[in-house]
């Protein structure tokens, strides 16, 4: 690994937002990486956004504060940003650009990789087909996460999405197979960042976790790189080292805002809500890095967390995310207000790959039907609840009352879970059977007789006829 030869220039002509316009530049290519040295001796990093004859536009990741027309030197590396990759990242806590935050030495790697990655050949992909178990009942049973899938958590400000994401990062596993977690936090408050570190402490100590933390007071623009670093580290662990890697990134809305800020500084034509028109492709260049490769043992699974501004699912960030990811887990404010954690809105959530990762040979044979039956029963309970509001619960049919009872138990015992409670898949599915047994057997048309005979034990509420 010889350090690349560097070219140095210093003729700064403009400083606008996070951008520096440099003249009398030669031999610098688009998307190259630059080391920026300030007169104070401080160093920053930059990326080339445009080259035009002898002019280069450079985006400074840590912002342009303190940069003027003179005294700044930019050294170009002749190639896009590379980082070292390897197992050295495991157990480490770093900032959003990969600099140690844990007091340890800089991370060295086995080799260097470009953080932008390269598109995976779709023909080389293997279809995702086994689950990642999270220990969270609502997810494992109803929106099963599959190795190689991208499944976002859609939330709104004030809900415990970070707690849920951290719980998943702490508990997830792939059975007996080697499993690692890369957690990238962007724009987190200090208390949130501390809480994340705290919960993930054990996993980090076990050498199973890498933590990238960009806090709310860290430079905004560096967030553009944070998820890319996380994915670059993950790809290597997965496809070279044969590990199953879960990447959790929170909060993608903060990331998208950083992208928007750069776009605005460049004077680009703004699209919806002033996000640039290429936001879809930009998000896809991150989300699509997960998956499996045929003939290789590992996998990259991605759980992005995002807060929908104003709770609006048609906002560009959730909307474009939904167009790229394979389903979504939606959190509900009303469940949260009723004190239920995790507040997963089961009807609004869907794992599009669930059928591939759950069922016979993967989880339990009856799993997929049981999940479909639970979801259908919840939909029906919702209708009954609406009706009860109009006409009063007393005027409902007995069946509808059974549905109301079912929904209550579902929320209280199945959905509700302690924040540090890891349920095994068997515990989760047994619980699901317990809950569905609140309904009369004739209502369970989606389950076959065999499964019903071995698991269904009807619970008849007081005062109801069996």
């Amino acid at each position: 690994m010889t350090p690349p030869t560097q070219l140095e220039f210093c003729d700064v002509r403009q400083v606008v937002g996070p951008l520096v316009v440099l003249k009398r530049v030669e031999g610098v290519g688009w998307d190259e990486f630059a080391q920026v040295r300030l007169p104070s001796g401080e160093t920053r990093q930059g990326l080339v956004l445009e080259v035009d004859e002898d002019t280069a536009v450079v985006q400074i990741l840590q912002g342009t504060q303190g940069i003027g027309l003179s005294g700044v030197r930019l050294a170009f590396e002749g190639r896009p940003l590379h980082i070292p990759v390897g197992e050295g990242w495991l157990g480490r806590v770093c900032d959003g650009l990969g600099q140690p935050r844990d007091g340890g030495p800089p991370v060295f790697g086995e080799t260097l990789r470009p953080v932008a990655g390269a598109p995976m050949n779709p023909v080389a992909r293997a279809t995702p087909s086994e689950p990642v178990l999270t220990g969270v009942s609502a997810i494992d049973a109803l929106t099963t996460l599959v190795r190689g899938q991208k499944l976002p958590i859609f939330s709104v400000a004030g809900l415990p999405h970070l707690e849920l994401a951290t719980q998943i990062a702490a508990q997830a596993h792939a059975g007996d197979e080697p499993f690692k977690v890369v957690f990238a936090g962007m724009g987190l408050s200090h208390p949130d960042a501390a809480a994340v570190r705290d919960v993930l402490e054990e996993r980090a100590a076990a050498g199973e976790l890498t933590l990238f933390l960009n806090t709310a007071d860290d430079p905004v623009i560096e967030r553009v790189l944070t998820p890319r670093l996380a994915l670059t580290v993950a790809e290597y662990l997965a496809f070279v080292r044969g590990q199953h890697v879960l990447v959790v990134v929170a909060d993608m809305t903060s990331y998208a805002e950083a992208v928007r800020e750069v776009s605005a500084a460049r004077g680009e034509v703004p699209g919806r809500r002033a996000y640039p028109g290429y936001l879809y492709s930009d998000l896809a260049s991150l989300y699509e890095r997960c998956g499996r490769i045929a003939g290789r043992p590992g996998s990259v699974t991605l759980v992005p967390v995002l807060t929908m501004p104003g709770g609006d699912i048609t906002h560009p960030v959730p909307d474009l995310t939904g167009y790229i990811t394979e389903g979504q887990i939606v959190l509900s404010r009303s469940l949260h207000e009723r004190g239920i954690f995790p507040p997963v809105d089961v009807l609004g959530s869907l794992s599009r790959l669930m059928r591939k990762g759950a069922g016979p040979g993967r989880t339990r044979p009856e799993h997929v039907d049981l999940a479909a039956q639970l979801v259908a029963a919840l939909a029906r309970s919702g209708q009954a609840a609406d009706l009860a509001e109009l006409v009063g619960a007393a005027a409902l049919t007995e069946t509808d009352r059974r549905y109301l009872g079912f929904a209550k138990v579902f929320e209280g015992t199945f959905l509700r879970q302690r924040i540090d409670e890891a349920r095994t898949l068997d515990q989760t599915l047994d619980l699901a059977w317990q809950v569905i047994s609140m309904l009369p057997r004739r209502e369970l048309a989606m389950l076959d007789h065999e499964a019903l005979d071995s698991h269904y034990r009807e619970v008849v509420p007081d005062g109801a006829s069996p």
Partner: protein, 573 residues
């Protein structure tokens, strides 16, 4: 082809400017830098040529070379397309590395030998479309034709035997005809004439074949927000429709989905011709993380391949998922070239380029004199699910069928979520004529009754929300009931079901007839005094499960279910 040598002066993502490319014309192919990245000339101002690069341009610098190839962006067309998987510029992805780094790749097919069997002989007259021979390959018979622009007499035809794609197999004067020909992807391939006609394209999806049928050679669009089922519906059409060949363009969509489609097509048997479904399919995969500008080209590559197969006399279907990603790529490039944006930042030529895209569909007399068609079906992904956004709004102007997917139906897990309020088929009238002439005059009646009952049931459901179901007259409650039955017994169809993923026309007719007969009987019963509440309590499960429980063309099973249920109804009096 030796090209002119120019120099790059500006690079901003896929936008590159070069000078010194004298003689270059619009849409010419230009290769950039040491890796020779493909790019297309999109504007020429004085000395400066603006280029749209088709690959990641990282590391490209001012001063690097730009070489003009002197031909427009073209695709190589020949045997080996069917069963293959290609990127947006029609370069094979089979045999390419796991990660697609920019730059030239070896084309593995270049050395493959194809067994050529001549049909024409020396001295025969040759004009575009004349058959020279065939090539053994997978799937359909591959026909080698005299390409457009070549005419005269065959001076030489190769003997039967193996040839590579580039080797000539015939000569007409100066022109050597190889197994592979090149065609500029943005230009429609010539035909003798456009034909009218209304032969339905069977899709195997009841809601389409019954309510919103599409004719061979027509154009259809599927707008719907994320997760409403566009991809699933299009994949079903790719699998079960009765076209000869399918060109499936994954334009800016998911890699996992393509891997899955590919795997399924390789496993499924072609019910019409035998062999695997993959053998009648060409997949063009430019997933969302592959270079954005190649995504823009992928749509045209797909159309060109379909036209090439059409020219051999085949009925082809081009499926594009999603046209919105293509439009967005155009918008992105327009904004980089600082074109004045029109609606929502899209370039002003958005409507005309959409029109040109859907106009490449049609039923034609080919240069060989055969009747063949290209049907175009495009998904549309409206931003924020907003059906008034420009791509969705303009697309509606240029297609004959609109299959609108409804978020509420999808949320209720009613699949395919094709809305019976927002969808239409302008082919329905000619297709009705076709069915009437082909011995199924009942199709027209069934369709009309189902549409009318659905509309009436929707109207009554709104009323019932205000006044309560029990306030409605019994007859109207029966209409509400049949609305449910139509949705659940006929329109819903799970793509993941072993029996019901596709449905033959006779089974579809039997299902519809069963529901309508049950409805007629119910109406009779309530007018004879049976209470509507009693009717609503009937267990309709046998009818609801009929589509799932019997094979995709099992009419008898449906009739048995119908009789079973009618027996129950008769017991009510």
């Amino acid at each position: 082809m030796t090209g002119r040598l120019g120099r790059i002066r500006r690079v901003s993502g896929p936008l590159v400017e070069a000078t010194g490319l004298d003689g270059v014309t619009m849409a010419d192919l230009v290769e950039l830098g040491p890796a020779r990245l493909p790019a297309e000339a999109v504007a020429i101002r004085d000395e400066v040529v603006t280029l749209q690069a088709y690959e990641y341009t990282g590391g490209l610098r001012p001063g690097d070379v730009a070489i003009s190839r002197g031909e427009p962006l073209s695709a190589g067309l020949g045997p080996g397309l069917l069963g293959g998987v290609f990127d947006g510029l029609l370069r094979s992805l089979v045999g390419a590395p796991e990660y697609l780094f920019p730059g030239r790749r070896e084309e593995p097919a270049a050395t493959t030998l194809w067994h050529f069997v001549p049909e024409a002989k020396e001295g025969d007259e040759a004009w575009p479309g004349v058959r020279i021979g065939t090539v053994d390959g997978v799937g359909l018979e591959h026909r080698v034709l005299v390409p457009p622009g070549v005419a005269g007499r065959l001076d030489w035809v190769a003997d039967e035997g193996p040839h590579t794609l580039a080797e000539p197999v015939a000569r007409v004067g100066e022109a050597a005809i190889a197994l592979q020909t090149r065609w500029p992807i943005r230009r429609p391939r010539p035909v003798l004439e456009r034909l009218n006609g209304g032969v339905p394209l069977f899709t195997g999806q009841r809601v389409l074949d019954l309510l919103y049928p599409v004719a061979q050679g027509s154009a259809a669009a599927v707008p719907g927000g994320f997760g409403t089922g566009k991809t699933m519906l299009l994949q079903q059409i790719a699998k079960w429709s009765d076209a000869d060949a399918i060109v499936y363009v994954g334009c800016g969509e998911r890699g996992n989905e393509l891997a899955d489609t590919l795997q399924e097509l390789r496993e499924l048997d072609d019910p019409r011709r035998g062999g695997r479904l993959a053998d009648r399919t060409v997949i063009i995969a430019n997933t969302s993380n592959m270079p954005m500008m190649a995504r823009e080209a992928s749509i045209y590559s797909g159309l060109t391949v379909a036209e090439y197969l059409r020219d051999m006399g085949y009925h082809t279907v081009v499926i594009a998922d999603s046209t919105s990603r293509w439009a967005e790529a155009r918008r992105e490039f327009a904004s980089r070239t600082r074109q004045l944006p029109a609606e929502e930042g899209y370039p002003a030529d958005l409507p005309s380029s959409l029109a040109a895209f859907y106009e490449r569909a049609g039923r034609f007399r080919t240069l060989s004199g055969a009747e063949a068609s290209v049907t175009v079906i495009g998904a549309v992904s409206p931003a924020g699910g907003d059906m008034t956004e420009p791509v969705t709004a303009h697309t509606q102007r240029f297609v004959r069928c609109l299959w609108t997917l409804d978020r509420d139906l999808a949320y209720a897990r009613h699949y395919p979520s094709v809305s019976w309020r927002g969808s239409y088929s302008r082919d329905a009238a000619v297709i009705a004529g076709w069915y009437t002439g082909r011995g199924d005059p009942e199709w027209v009646r069934r369709r009309a009754r189902v549409l009318a009952l659905l509309a009436e049931a929707d109207r009554l459901a709104e009323l019932a929300e205000l006044v309560g179901v029990s306030a409605l007259p019994s007859q109207e409650r029966m209409v509400l009931l049949v609305g449910q039955l139509i949705r659940r017994a006929v329109l819903q169809q799970s793509a993941t079901s072993a029996n019901d993923a596709t449905c033959a026309m006779p089974k579809q007719a039997a299902l519809v007839d069963a529901v309508l007969t049950v409805h007629d009987r119910s109406v009779q019963l309530v007018s004879d005094g049976v209470s509507a509440t009693a009717m609503e309590k009937v267990d309709f499960t046998p009818l609801l499960r009929a589509r799932e429980d019997s094979g995709s063309s099992d009419v008898d099973a449906v009739i048995r279910r119908r009789e079973e249920l009618l027996g129950v109804l008769d017991g009510l009096t």
